[in-house]
Amino acid sequence: MIMSLQSFIEKAISPWMQEDGPDHDIVLSTRIRLARNFTDVPFPIMADEDSLKIVSNWIQDHFNQKTFAEGKKLEYISMRDLQALEKRALVEKHLISPYLIEREKESGVLLTNDEQVSVMINEEDHIRLQLYFPGLQLERGLEEAFKFDDWLEEKIDYAFDEKRGYLTSCPTNVGTGLRASVMMHLPALTLTQKMNKMVPAINQLGLVVRGLYGEGSEAVGNIYQISNQVTLGRSESDIIDDLHGVVNQMIERERYARKLLVEQSELRLEDRIYRSYGTLKYSRIIESKEAAKCLSDLRLGIDVGYLTHLSKSILNELMVLTQPAFLQQYAQQSLTAKQRDIKRAAIIRERLGLEE
């Protein structure tokens, strides 16, 4: 096995997630994604194995083991070299998409050792570069993504058209190829039923709100991802500005809703948070949905100041660690759903015990 692969797969928390970013009481992370393609090579949907190899070989020849910036050395991992469970683990860390592993063709990912940059190769497009940042960092994110994009472009002829911009396989990405996403923890807005009203208004602004984690990607754990939908006819910085504006409003509303919750139902909220803490600390069997709900309560408890001895980085870690592939990775064996619920409870007890 590739040496660094081990840490990509075994550590549930990416190095870049260790520090708290701006507005970390509500925003978990920011992701900037740019879709790019090679000119004159068919897009993966129509490409044969040889064409896809042209892309993956080019990427390996020019970027594998190369250093983009200080501490940013890239490693190419071919999906071919991974076990099913290892691929799932990368998905659970959001380093690759589920679509990349569904494709059984020549596909792979370039990762920096700090896991801040992930470049999926031969996904829906030849290149999907993604950069991750803790907290809300849209402007910085875009700036760094542009730098990285320029660096790639020194060695790649991109498919680009003066009128349409960066040409992508899906018409929903054409133009900038930019998808900027902000992952937010919105327990108070959810609890007070405000999210239902806000989502349609946000949609009207050309932004999309999705629930994150959980089987059908519903908003398990009160975590939402907000991203831009329009990629054509607007500049990247305008797209980012719009998103930032809406995210700021949501942050303010969530903070206000939390304040009201604390003021108006202090004991009930405190009770709820400590019950969840108790569940996580002592349960022997816990389903992913319940775990996510309780972890959300704990996070809220830390942010409003009830729980002072817990760190949020342990929650970030548990969010990933309690996913199916990671649980099995941790157990070093494949587990049934029931066994996973037992293992999940055990890991949570152990991790929270370390924090006591």
Binding site: Y99, T172, R179, G216
Partner: protein, 181 residues
Amino acid sequence: MDCENCHQRPATLHLTNYINGEKTEIHVCQHCAIEKGYIEGDDETYTIHDLLSGLFNFNTPMAKKPEPQTSSQQELTCPHCNMSYLQFAKTGKFGCSHCYQTFKDHLNPLFRRIHSGNTEHIGKIPKRQYVHLQKKRQIQDYREQLKQLIAQEAFEEAAKLRDKIKALEQASELNRDEEGE
């Protein structure tokens, strides 16, 4: 609001469908949206139906049969990747960068629908490959700024900017005849 399909999960997706010009709202959870084919799994945020209804005028979200099309549409095939127009409409994906040229007569309505009425790119330009285009855009931007400066009667700054534009134009030998207006 609960998902109108399963009535179990909260509706996290609020989609707008245009059926024969009529607007319908659909409120479903992510799970049902994927199951019903309104959206694709994971990263895609558009609705496939939105996309296809623009091309084929499907009558209902679940309709399978496209309305009759002209034979020229059906025969249209990209010479570079062999993707047919029908295939493009079905998958909602381009097969290669040349498909944009091949299907160009059909793209503006589609792009308008997906991208809030927009059809043309105004963002980043590849640095190495399109130096020329970048200069052109830069000059356009400066001209806009120049107009504003003149309107604000900031003549000193305007003069500086005008020199900058001149230098850029000379360097790229663009629009020389428009100089000194």
